[in-house]
Structure formats: structure tokens, C-alpha cells
């Protein structure tokens, strides 16, 4: 389809105010939270309701035009990176909270709703939405769903997937499906919702999402402990978890990270080699008991200072410092490259040591801030993109860090997704059969390979080229895949 005709067709669906086609304007959409990859989309469209999304997708399907969904564009793996000659479908105007049903502890939202708004909406009634990515004040529920985002409290409460109970989805052929549940907890049949959560926008576009909200815990206690280095802090982490305590969160920041955060939001953190933030929540008595024990374990691990948050304001300050960590890197470096590997908690010490050695080898600074409780590392490789070759070097170092994590039995990503950025590492973690199985699912949803193509998988295999073990696929031959 000719571009001008496509613009016209989109304007017919969305009105002129819903279609962006001028070059300068399109350029602001050429990358997401990860600036290393840039592609200028052919068109950007801004639907305001599910019906418009459906019409857009159907048009793309009929015309064979690839498209990518985008929420707030804060993804860190290039998931919302546009595709060439493709359409970018931006959900930022679909931001209504559709239903609040606290009797069933559920809230139904449009995908452009920002994570934090959900908690704000139900706060007065004593509820909150548990998944709290550091980007919660800007990232969209649609993006969270697609990335299966997690946050500091996922150690105890789980990731987005544990808090989404249903979704209305426009499938890549333009039909609408309702995945997952209504009000009853368990649905018979395949767990398609489970497959959709974390699919990074490759299986369709969510147009409404049902979330589970929780009652705020009776008691919350938060402490901040300073240590000489990450190793001692790591010992404390092992001590706490080994002691049978499941904190709501345990976060670690190293010296470089602390420096950046201090400049950015002045939380007044201690001057230390590593800082842990530990939060416990639950019934009053249990929290009190465990909190005492946690303090003791920190002391036994040579904590040089322990601060207990006296009130909500102080707790908020601790978290503000933690949550600003990535963005604060701009204070100490022009650019940064963040990895998101997960390693078994028992390997933390060894991996951190390896990361620091690698940094020295490359002569580059690596800052560490991470979810220590579940071993989800976020090594931030600092570099200056203006200096010839630095970006490549940073990427290579980041790659070596990933390999090191995999060697220690780790995984590629904890919560930021594979997207464009980490797809090349997928074969390191999965066998060809594993990958083919995933491809099959993808082809079932998106047989024409139009929905966020080129992401997640290393070689963009068309659905026509059936991968090995599944060459003769009866389900698809029979056209049953269209049923999804």
C-alpha cells in the first residue's frame, strides 16, 4: 500500500489527530528506553479505544504491514523499537481505569494506564497493586504485561504475571480474544494468558487488562544497612534468606551507584561500599519478630551502620533513592548500558567479583544495583557514546557479563525482556528445539509475522519456514491456528 493511501486509511480510522507522519515527529519515536537501537517508523498511530486498535490491526493484516505496540517507551531491551516501513501503535491515549471492583479485589484498566495510578486509585480503600518496577511512575500496564515486569517487591509477591487475571487482546489477524479469567480464579483450558504475559508484544495487543489488587499489609518495616563491600552485603542477604525470612524486598547498591543516586535525589545514604535496603511486611507480630532477627543478621555481617525508617516519609526516601538509580546514572556518565541477568543467589558473590574483574579488564566502570533477594542483577556499564568505539566496547563488556552469568547457571533477563537487544544471546540459553517450540506458539498467534517482528528470537524465521521438528504441522495445516 502506498504511504499516502495508508495515511489516509489510518486517518479514516483515527481522525487526523491520531496519525503522526511528519519526519521530525516520527524521529522522537525511533527508540525506547534503550537508545542503542533506532529505527524511524513509517507512521505512528494513537488509538483511543479498543475498537480503533482492532481496525488498525486489521488494516495492517490485510495489507501485510508490520507493526509494533508501544506503551510509555521505557523498555530497556528495545521491545518497542519500531520496524522499518512499519506502523507504531502507541497506547498512551488509552488511559482510562475502566472498573474498580474491590469486592473481588480487581481493577480493569486500559493498557496506557500508568502502573502507579492503579495503586493511587485504590489507596484510600487500603489496597495497592503489588508489582512495582522502578519505572512505575511512568511505565504503562500494557508494557508491564508485555515485559512481565517486576520490581523490588517481587521477591515475596511475584511478577506481573502473578497479578494479571485477564486481558482483552486484539490478535494479529484483527480478531478479539479474551484471555484468562473473569472473576473466578481458575480457568480450564490452556493458560493462554500465561503465554501472553511476557510475550513482548509479539502475540497481539492488549486493549484492556484485569489486575488483582492486594490489601495493604498490616505492618511494614524498612531498614537500610551499610557495608564495607558487596561481598559482606551479600553475606547478609544469604543470612536473611537462609534464616527462613522472606522479606518483601532486599535491594543492593554498590558504591558507584550510591554516588550517582546521592547527586540525583540526595537521599542521604551512608558513605559505604554497599548498601542494602530490606523491607519486611505482613502481620504486626511476625514482622516485629523477623525485623529483630534481620537487624541481628546485618550486625553479624559487619554492617557499619543500620538505619530504620521511622515513618512513611523516611521509607519513601529510601525507595526514592533506590528507584532513581538507573536514571541517576546520567549524573556520572553520558550513557549507560544495563543488563538484567538473574543468577542463583548462592552465586552472587562469585558473579559480582567476576563483573568487577571484567570491568577492570575493559577499563570501564560498572555500577551495580540489583534485587539481591532473587539474584536479579542490574550491572550498569557506563560509557560515553560520543567517544568512538565506546558504545561497542560497552556492549561487548555487557555481553561478557551475560556469559559469566550464564556460566554460573543464570538466566538472560529477570524483567527487562529480550526484545531487540538480547535476542542474539537466546541460543546460549536455549536449545534449538526450545526456540522452535516458542516459534511455533508465535506462528499460531501471528502466522504472517507482522506483530513486532524481529524481536526476541535470533534469526527472524518466517512462519512459513517451519523449524525442524515441527516441519509437518497439522494444526496449522488445518488452519486451526487461526482459531486463536
Amino acid at each position: 500500500m502506498e504511504r499516502s493511501r495508508l495515511i489516509q486509511a489510518m486517518e479514516d480510522i483515527l481522525g487526523p489527530e491520531g496519525v503522526i507522519h511528519e519526519r521530525e515527529q516520527l524521529r522522537t519515536y525511533e527508540c525506547d528506553g534503550l537508545m542503542n537501537y533506532r529505527v524511524i517508523p513509517d507512521l505512528v498511530v494513537l488509538p483511543v479505544n479498543a475498537e480503533q486498535v482492532q481496525k488498525i490491526v486489521r488494516l495492517c493484516y490485510d495489507e501485510g504491514i508490520p507493526y509494533v505496540a508501544r506503551g510509555s517507551g521505557t523498555g530497556l531491551s528495545g521491545g518497542a523499537l519500531p520496524v522499518e516501513s512499519g506502523v507504531l501503535i502507541v497506547m498512551s491515549r488509552m488511559k482510562r481505569i475502566l472498573e474498580v471492583d474491590l469486592e473481588n479485589e480487581r481493577v480493569v484498566v486500559e493498557p496506557g494506564v500508568i502502573n502507579l495510578w492503579v495503586s493511587q486509585e485504590v489507596a484510600d480503600e487500603g489496597y495497592y497493586y503489588a508489582p512495582d518496577p522502578a519505572s512505575q511512575l511512568v511505565s504503562s500496564i500494557g508494557g508491564n504485561l508485555a515485559e512481565n515486569s517486576g520490581g523490588v517487591h517481587c521477591l515475596k509477591y511475584g511478577f506481573t504475571t502473578n497479578h494479571v487475571t485477564g486481558a482483552e487482546v486484539v490478535l494479529p489477524d484483527g480478531s478479539v480474544a479474551h484471555l484468562g479469567g473473569g472473576k473466578a480464579p481458575d480457568e480450564p483450558g490452556y493458560d493462554l494468558l500465561g503465554a501472553f504475559v511476557g510475550s513482548e508484544g509479539t502475540l497481539g495487543i492488549a486493549t484492556s487488562i484485569t489486575l488483582r489488587v492486594l490489601r495493604k499489609p498490616e505492618a511494614v518495616r524498612t531498614l537500610l544497612a551499610a557495608f564495607k563491600d558487596t561481598e559482606e552485603a551479600g553475606d547478609a542477604v544469604s543470612g536473611i534468606i537462609g534464616g527462613g525470612i522472606v522479606p518483601a524486598a532486599i535491594e543492593m547498591m554498590d558504591r558507584l551507584c550510591l554516588e550517582a543516586v546521592e547527586v540525583a535525589v540526595s537521599p542521604g545514604f551512608p558513605d559505604a561500599g554497599a548498601v542494602l535496603i530490606v523491607e519486611l511486611d505482613g502481620p504486626e507480630a511476625e514482622v516485629e519478630n523477623q525485623f529483630e532477627r534481620t537487624m541481628k543478621i546485618c550486625e553479624d555481617s559487619n554492617a557499619s551502620e543500620i538505619r530504620v525508617a521511622e515513618d512513611d516519609a523516611e521509607r519513601a526516601l529510601f525507595w526514592k533513592g533506590r528507584k532513581a538509580a538507573f536514571a541517576a546514572m546520567g549524573r556520572v556518565s553520558n550513557d549507560y548500558y544495563v543488563q538484567d541477568s538473574v543468577v542463583p543467589r548462592t552465586e552472587l558473590g562469585a558473579v559480582l567479583k567476576r563483573i568487577s574483574d571484567l570491568g577492570e579488564e575493559y577499563g570501564m566502570r560498572v555500577a551495580n544495583v540489583f534485587h539481591a533477594g532473587d539474584g536479579n542483577l542490574h550491572p550498569l556499564v557506563l560509557y560515553d557514546g560520543e567517544v568512538e568505539g565506546e558504545a561497542e566496547k560497552a556492549e561487548k563488556l555487557a555481553g561478557d557479563i551475560v556469559f559469566a552469568c550464564l556460566e554460573h547457571g543464570g538466566s538472560l533477563t529477570g524483567e527487562h525482556g529480550i526484545g531487540e537487544d538480547k535476542k542474539k544471546y537466546m541460543p546460549k540459553m536455549f536449545t534449538e528445539e526450545d526456540l522452535d517450540t516458542m516459534q511455533l506458539l508465535r506462528c499460531a498467534f501471528d502466522p504472517h509475522y507482522l506483530c513486532n517482528p524481529g524481536k526476541m528470537f535470533p534469526t527472524p524465521r518466517l512462519c512459513g519456514e517451519r523449524p525442524g521438528p515441527f516441519r509437518m504441522h497439522p494444526v496449522q495445516k488445518a488452519g486451526l491456528a487461526e482459531l486463536f
Binding site: 483515527l14 481522525g15 487526523p16 489527530e17 491520531g18 503522526i20 511528519e22 519526519r23 521530525e24 515527529q25 524521529r27 522522537t28 519515536y29 527508540c31 525506547d32 528506553g33 537508545m35 505512528v44 494513537l46 488509538p47 483511543v48 479505544n49 510509555s72 517507551g73 521505557t74 502507541v90 498512551s92 491515549r93 488509552m94 488511559k95 482510562r96 481505569i97 475502566l98 472498573e99 474498580v100 486500559e110 496506557g112 494506564v113 500508568i114 495510578w117 486509585e121 519505572s135 511512575l137 511512568v138 511505565s139 547527586v263 540525583a264 535525589v265 532513581a324 538507573f326 536514571a327 541517576a328 546514572m329 546520567g330 549524573r331 553520558n334 550513557d335 549507560y336 557514546g385 560520543e386
Partner: protein, 504 residues
């Protein structure tokens, strides 16, 4: 069903090209006529002649010949103070600034967000031209600096947008009517006497009921949107409460301070100035109010570089030799600009040092009073007030607690927080006159949030916000809600006046 931050505003969103299209030939004619009538001569104002801002800079720099609107200049920026690459590079594209940016809240578009604008600035350095699209997105920025507060990476968007605006004014040729309208604003607002004259006749015809008749006859609806916005914004001019050139301190003297009277402040809110001076004196300050001109805030925020620098120099000249400990400012927009003089005049060998020294002594009045510490007795004022953060106070100067503190020190005073406090009310300097549609939407959004607090009155520290919120409340049929500057409230408390004086 609830709608957050504008909800699905897509359908009725303000269309970027609408405003220009809607203004027909009639509009052009009227605006030009108005510009001419007000722009002529300036006999009554203190000092300060005016400049064809763009031209003189263009000559000094010698580059950046602008072209007709519709075509473009490449690359967008030349090397006379472009948005600095170093500052642009501080942006890590995290998006944390998006939800507090009023234009992103309204339109949900990347290029109308701080992150998008910074991206455009970057592209404008080498890769993209200055054309209508680009300028449009810079123009739509309110300059509210909410993004500066929100940014964990410390991006100095204030400096970036100021540099960008300067480039736009020099290198981009606006349409004739746009130019005329802007010129009229800048021939009017920085000059209290002209402003008073311009607002005066309005007041007269208000009294005669002409406005109501015009409205009923429908003629008003055909007046171009910008003029209509301006008309709706300017209230009656109250009888001027003059401020003496020197007011002695009450009791033991703690400081000798100069006060800026402001332009809009002086014309529409002269009681605020009078209250400020009384409060400062009561707290032990000798207060000096020399004959003075505009501080240049409006021009600075609009990128009229040469004009703004001249206002800044004149203001420094006026105050510098008065032997003052501090320059105390009661209008947020003026204060933020004066704190920036050092940066603005950094290239001027004659003024650079002086401007820096000057800026270091500038304080917002609440900031200053908290620094000084309360001394005079506060009498009770039993009332609940919603405090509205002026962007140029909260975001640009980081002054949030001090005005609240000032109010809370008054016995009986309850201070209510306004939801979405960090989002601009849409006033933003000249914004509500040049971009009336989004400004109106923001104004009504703010008014709704204010009404939701259930407070008996509104307190805020900027004349622009007062005009904007007043106009919005009025449009919504709520003009009964009284409004005051923190200094008027404190003044009432110090003088032991009954709370009713504030609620009239």
C-alpha cells in the same frame, strides 16, 4: 469509570493546526490593529526603550537568516547559544519526566513531552532543519519546568528550552499575524502604564455592560481565540495601592531589602505589593522600592534574547547601588528569571560578574521570610486554604516548603494540598494568550482539582497563576472562590484583621 490525566482525550484534543486555521482574515486584521495601537510610543514608562529583538541579535551574530514560514533553515540551530550538546546528553531517555509534563498529559505524544523535545533539540543540532513542525513542539512547551523536578538525571531543561527559544525567535519566520500578536504582547505586558491603559477601557466597557451585550449578540465568539483568551484573562484593574520608595523597619532592623514590583503584579495586584512591603517591614526589614522597569521574565521565557538582556541590565542598574542585603521578589516568574541573571549575562563582560553577584542575593519572599525566621506576632486566621504551587516557584526555584510553612505558622490556618500539584495550571508566561486552547484545558483541570479540596480559598505566589485560575473558575461558574498571595494572608494575620477580609 475514572479518567486519569485527561483520560481518553484523543477525540477532542487540541489540534496543533487548529488555532492558526481558525483565525481568519478578520483575526489578522484585528490583531495587527491592536498591536499597532498599543505598540506605539512609550512615554509613560520608566526608561527602557524597546527593541526589534530578533534583528539586533541577527546582526551581531551575522548568521541564521530566516526564511519564509513553510520552508526551513538547516540545521535547526546555529552556534550562537544552541541548546548545549552536553546538557542534551544528560538525558538518558528514561521517560520519568513524561507524566508531569502538561502537554504530554494532554496530548499523549512523544514530541510534546520533555524527552521528545530534548530529542528534537539533539536532532536540530546537526540532522534536522528548523521547520514548522519543530517550532510547533517547542512553542507548545509551557516552560513550566515540571520536567526539571521530575528528572533523576539532572537534565537542565530550563537552559535547553531557553536556548532553543532564542534560536527560534532569531531563525524562524513566524506568520505575519503570529508575529504581530506576539509583538503586541511584548509591547504591552512589560510596561505597567501601557498595560493599565489597555486594561482600563476594558474595565470601562465592562461597567457599561458592553461585554455582556457583545457576548449575547454572538460577536464575541467571532473574535479570534487568542484575543478572546486575553480578554477573558484580564480582570478589573483595582485602584492602585502605591508603595513608598523607602519603608522603615518596625523595631530593630534585621535587613535592608529591595522589592521588585512586577508588571502584571503592579497593575492587577498592587495590594499584593503593598502587603509584601508591610510584612517585610513588620518582620524588621527596611524596604526599598526604587523606580523600576520590567525584570525581563516574559521576554526571557519567550526567547527574546536581546530584549530580555536589556531588561536584566536595567534592573541590575536600578537595584545594584542601593546597598541592599537581598532582592526580595513576590512573583514567581520574576524571581526565577532574576536568579538566572548571572547565567543570562554570562557573555557580557561589563555585566557578567555583577549579574552573578546580583542573582546570589535574589530570594522569593516566602523563602526569605523563612530564612529570616518569624518575629512579629501572628494573629489567628481560622480558614482552610488550598496552596497552589506556581511552576516558577516550585519547579524553577525549588521553593515548595517555605510558602506552606509561612501559611502554617499562622494560628488556625489549614493548608490543603491540591491533587496533581506538579502539573501546570496553563498560565506559563504568555502561554495562555498564544496557546489558548491547551491552556484552557489545563486551567480547568487545575480548577477542578482545587475545587475538590473543599478549601475556602486559594493561595498562590504568582500573578499569572492567579489570572489563569481566576479565569478558569469563572468559566466554570465558580468565581466565588477567593484568592490571595501568601503575603496578603500573612499581612492580614500580622495586622490582626478578621478572616473575612480575605474571603471577600
Amino acid at each position: 469509570m475514572t479518567e486519569r490525566n485527561g483520560g481518553g482525550r484523543g477525540e477532542d484534543r487540541y489540534n496543533a493546526t487548529d488555532a492558526t486555521e481558525r483565525r481568519g482574515d478578520e483575526g489578522t486584521f484585528r490583531e495587527e490593529a491592536m498591536a499597532e495601537s498599543i505598540g506605539a510610543g512609550s512615554p509613560e514608562d520608566v526608561g527602557q526603550s524597546t527593541y526589534a529583538a530578533g534583528d539586533s541579535v541577527r546582526q551581531t551574530v551575522g548568521i541564521g537568516r530566516s526564511t519564509e514560514s513553510g520552508s526551513y533553515t538547516f540545521p535547526a540551530f546555529d552556534d550562537h547559544h544552541p541548546p548545549e550538546k552536553d546538557l542534551i546528553d544528560d538525558c538518558v531517555h528514561c521517560g520519568f519526566c513524561l507524566p508531569t509534563c502538561p502537554t504530554y498529559v494532554l496530548f499523549g505524544e512523544e514530541m510534546d513531552s520533555p524527552r521528545g523535545r530534548i530529542y528534537l533539540m539533539n536532532k536540530g543540532l546537526t540532522e534536522e532543519p528548523m521547520n514548522d513542525q519543530m517550532v510547533r513542539h517547542f512553542d507548545l512547551c509551557l516552560g513550566c519546568m515540571a520536567c526539571v523536578t521530575a528528572c533523576p538525571s539532572g537534565v537542565q531543561y530550563d537552559k535547553l528550552i531557553e536556548a532553543t527559544r532564542g534560536q527560534v525567535e532569531r531563525r524562524y519566520e513566524r506568520s505575519a499575524e503570529d508575529k504581530a500578536f506576539r509583538e503586541m504582547i511584548f509591547q504591552l505586558f512589560p510596561y505597567p502604564n501601557r498595560l493599565r491603559l489597555a486594561a482600563g477601557p476594558m474595565r470601562l466597557y465592562q461597567r457599561l455592560g458592553i461585554r455582556d451585550r457583545l457576548r449575547k449578540s454572538g460577536v464575541m465568539n467571532r473574535i479570534p481565540s487568542r484575543l478572546r483568551a486575553m480578554e477573558a484573562l484580564l480582570p478589573d484593574v483595582p485602584k492602585e495601592e502605591k508603595v513608598p520608595e523607602v519603608t522603615p523597619a518596625v523595631g530593630e532592623k534585621r535587613a535592608r531589602v529591595g522589592v521588585l514590583l512586577g508588571c502584571v503584579q503592579r497593575v492587577f495586584f498592587s495590594p499584593v505589593n503593598a502587603a509584601t512591603v508591610r510584612v517585610l517591614a513588620a518582620e524588621g526589614c527596611e524596604v526599598v522600592a526604587p523606580k523600576q522597569g520590567c525584570c525581563g521574565a516574559l521576554s526571557t521565557h519567550a526567547g527574546r534574547e536581546e530584549e530580555s538582556l536589556n531588561f536584566a541590565r536595567k534592573t541590575i542598574d536600578t537595584f545594584e547601588n542601593e546597598d541592599l542585603d537581598y532582592f526580595v521578589i513576590n512573583a514567581a516568574g520574576c524571581g526565577s528569571t532574576m536568579k538566572e541573571y548571572g547565567y543570562l549575562l554570562r557573555d557580557d563582560p561589563e555585566y557578567a560578574e555583577r549579574a552573578k553577584a546580583f542573582s546570589e542575593k535574589v530570594r522569593d519572599v516566602s523563602e526569605f521570610l523563612q530564612q529570616l525566621g518569624p518575629r512579629a506576632e501572628r494573629h489567628p486566621l481560622p480558614v482552610t486554604a488550598a496552596y497552589h504551587d506556581a511552576c516558577h516557584l516550585a519547579h524553577a526555584q525549588g521553593v515548595r516548603q517555605q510558602p506552606r510553612q509561612t501559611l502554617k505558622q499562622i494560628p488556625g490556618m489549614q493548608v490543603k494540598e491540591i491533587r496533581e500539584a506538579e502539573v501546570c495550571c496553563g498560565s506559563a508566561g504568555i502561554y495562555n494568550m498564544v496557546e489558548p486552547e491547551p491552556a484552557e484545558e489545563l486551567g480547568e483541570r487545575k480548577a477542578k482539582n482545587i475545587l475538590a479540596t473543599g478549601a475556602r480559598m486559594i493561595v498562590t505566589s504568582n500573578p499569572g497563576c492567579m489570572l489563569q485560575i481566576q479565569a478558569s473558575l469563572k468559566r466554570m461558574g465558580h468565581d466565588e472562590l477567593p484568592m490571595a498571595h501568601p503575603m496578603e494572608v500573612l499581612d492580614a494575620s500580622l495586622r490582626g484583621e478578621p478572616v473575612e477580609t480575605l474571603l471577600r
